[in-house]
Symmetry: C2
Subunit: 472 residues, 2 copies
């Protein structure tokens, strides 16, 4: 605070000593001028993001909900809906809306133009970090997904997954277009967000209830894995559709084919690459000898995914599936965890921060349409997944309700859809808020519902579950 003019003067001094140089100074001051202030803003934003994610995550866990929900809600609290610490220009905010920018202006005594420039650069940097976060998340989901697991639960899981994608997507999209006159693209995006099942949340809840290894648990986890793959193809299709602006059947077929070819092709090619990867990783001796080759592969696949007009996350997921098949799997998993821990929360918190829940305030008359959409989406989201239990055949005495309820939580996968839809501009703010409410409610309701569904079964089969186990 003693030298508030230091930063703004940095341009002046560069030009003041440059005449004395033997060589011309080629550096343009314009870009690097505010670089230290941008860094200060990014650091402060990251502190806010991590605080929001940890406070939200821990509170959520204490209330027996999945931590990821808390991270999202934490983002809502620090974002455009409440504290305005973390706001983004693409949702219509200007620099003076951002509390962090006001802090930087106070510290650095910046001009309004400087603040606007810093706000823009800082928001872009946080957005890129969030994108890298979701890429690492999908890479990690790929690493945790197991193709061999699918073979065991076989057809049952595949049918549950397909029904669980088709029904909510069809009912959601058609209902939005028919009842609410939503245009095709946003209706399809919302429908696509309804198809997701969070493998992370589902398997966590199942293990908390002690039902992960049950027949129902196996089918749910298998279906969630297949749903993950289907969901990513649906997302790639929908996101690419959004880019063209119209529902082009040939385009849909092209995208389904290219997504399938890309995913299956990279897994098949991966059979050969696996050995090369292990050989390379074994030969390397310097730090990061495992994680750097893995990230070269993941980022290269993500780059290809983006470059062929699919999605970066599809490439990262495929890379994860491929590397999951290597002997290095466990070691790699272990090393990806801390990287995901610091990058993934940036994604969830910024998704929450971008949403303005204010549009769902029922007191404002214009908001009532948005709220009705949210109620509609929640109903479709629950019913569309519960029916999947009744698509299971040849399994007498199976708890169909538990299977259906197990597929309900949308969690991080639903948020991935929302994040990409919001970033592409395809989903307007009331629909974003409606989807986020759907994601929150399905994920909040699933754990108690699943407990009830299994309890009912347990009561019938005299296999009582102790209340202590339920809370554990």
């Amino acid at each position: 605070m003693i030298f508030p003019e230091l930063i703004v003067n940095s341009v002046t001094w560069v030009s003041s000593w440059s005449p004395y140089l033997q060589f011309p100074v080629l550096a343009t001051a314009s870009e690097s001028e505010y670089a230290p202030v941008v860094l200060t803003g990014v650091l402060l934003s990251l502190v806010v993001i991590y605080l929001a994610s940890k406070l939200g995550g821990e509170l959520s866990r204490m209330m027996d909900f999945p931590p990821v929900l808390g991270e999202l809600v934490g983002g809502v609290v620090v974002g455009a809906s409440a504290l305005h610490l973390l706001v983004f220009p693409e949702s219509g905010a200007i620099a003076t809306d951002s509390v962090i920018m006001n802090i930087l202006q106070f510290i650095g005594n910046l001009s309004p133009e400087a603040v606007t420039s810093v706000f823009q650069s800082q928001s872009e940097a946080i957005s890129i970090l969030a994108e890298l976060g979701v890429i690492v998340l999908l890479f990690e989901i790929g690493l945790e997904s197991d193709l061999r697991e699918l073979k065991k639960v076989g057809y049952q899981a595949a049918i549950v997954a397909c029904v669980g994608v088709a029904v909510p997507f069809a009912v959601g999209t058609a209902g939005l277009m028919f009842f609410f006159h939503t245009p095709a693209i946003p209706a399809i995006f919302a429908g696509a967000a309804l198809t997701a099942t969070s493998i992370g949340i589902t398997s966590k809840v199942l293990s908390e209830l002690g039902h992960l290894k049950s027949r129902e648990g196996q089918i749910i986890v298998g279906a969630a894995v297949i749903d993950d793959v289907l969901g990513i193809i649906v997302l790639a299709v929908v996101a690419s559709l959004a880019k063209t602006g119209e529902v082009d059947i040939l385009n849909v077929i092209y995208l389904i084919v290219s997504a399938t070819v890309f995913l299956i092709g990279s897994i098949l090619l991966g059979k050969f690459f696996n050995k090369t990867f292990v050989t390379i990783a074994d030969k390397l001796q310097t730090r990061g000898k495992l994680v750097i080759p893995a990230f070269i592969f993941a980022f290269f696949m993500a780059f290809i995914g983006n470059a062929i007009h699919l999605e970066a996350i599809l490439g990262a997921f495929a890379a994860g599936l491929v590397l999951d098949e290597t002997d290095k799997r466990k070691e790699l998993d272990q090393q990806v965890i801390p990287i995901a821990d610091i990058l993934v929360p940036i994604f969830f918190v910024t998704v929450g921060a971008r949403v303005d829940l204010g549009v769902l305030n029922p007191i404002v008359p214009e908001n009532q349409q948005g709220l009705i959409i949210a109620i509609f989406l929640v109903v479709v989201a629950i019913i569309g997944k519960v029916v999947t239990g009744w698509s299971v055949f040849g399994q007498p005495g199976i708890n169909r309700l538990a299977i259906g309820v197990g597929m309900i939580p949308r969690g991080e996968v639903g948020l991935v859809f929302l994040g990409i839809g919001a970033a592409s501009g395809a989903i307007d703010k009331p629909l974003q808020a409606a989807i986020i409410i759907m994601v929150i409610l399905t994920t909040f309701l699933a754990p108690p519902f699943l407990r009830l569904a299994f309890n009912k079964q347990s009561g019938e089969t005299e296999e009582l579950v102790e209340p202590a186990d339920l809370i554990g």
Copy 2:
């Protein structure tokens, strides 16, 4: 490649369906318009950076040099000096100079204005990632530095460190100003870069030679730790000086005092915070329960460091020193490693990429001055550290030459100085290249020199070291 018009058309379709919406689309297309292309560029840049760092690092290690040197040279190869894959606007490059931008333009059929905008955003994103890399590096160096270690080697190490900072700084700065008529600020920056000793490289070379636990080894490591702290204070002073543009004695005193108060104050406060940190980390139950609180602390300290006009890395280093004193040290160290593995190479490779070694081509007459500067810096860098061995007192029979030679490698710490000097615009390109040559040569020469120095001693004391041990 089938839909080359997809990306450029994304604005059109947003406006084409927005009239049908019930709510106005608040998102401005201008910022998010090229967001997927920026992401594609960032991903491709990261692939290039990681490939350069791993190829360079491994080749360097195979030639028995520290891997970090290879990462730097890898950066030089992919950067402005050779392949032009990774170039930056602030070093005078335009979008068409960048091979990556040409690839993106080919894939996305972008307009020249779009390419310029994408180039700017992508370069800013990579620069921020590199800044986060050096922050994480200094946090890790802080975590690895041990205050208790210093107490054992005591005065000897402190004197070696002080002489090793004072002599190269004074001789280097004065020499540049007197012989080469370099202006004060760049001369001081170059002098400051001469003060560094790489604790990482030094301790690695010592352990490779089996001399880490010897009396000489203990003094070298202790001095390198103190040198690290001194170097960061010198860097903070120099960088802040660069911002004001003149050598202001009061400012120097203020900065030395504030850097010392900040560092020592945060360590003292850290004694209390330690327990709070452990208590918090023990209470947390969700993923990232150790690494997220640690990064909140590190980034907050880095923010404070930047905000009080010191350096972000000073805060990160202090945070590392504080957390090194907790019981969580080992666990945290383990988790920071993969994070550093993926972020730190971005820093080293971009430092290398920003330097244009072309200015040191001796065939071009204007370059000869730069080359002479490089030779001068290398001589000062070696002699200025070798003399430190003779500042040791009360240790009869000690290998003074080995101690002096052990302080020679500048390594990553020298590059930190260079990177910050280059980013602030304080060092012109010939001087940057001269410093980088000094860093490369001191780090390349130190391992064989140190081997010779210890061998001489070993021969005299009949304590022969087997050649196999030397290579190991």
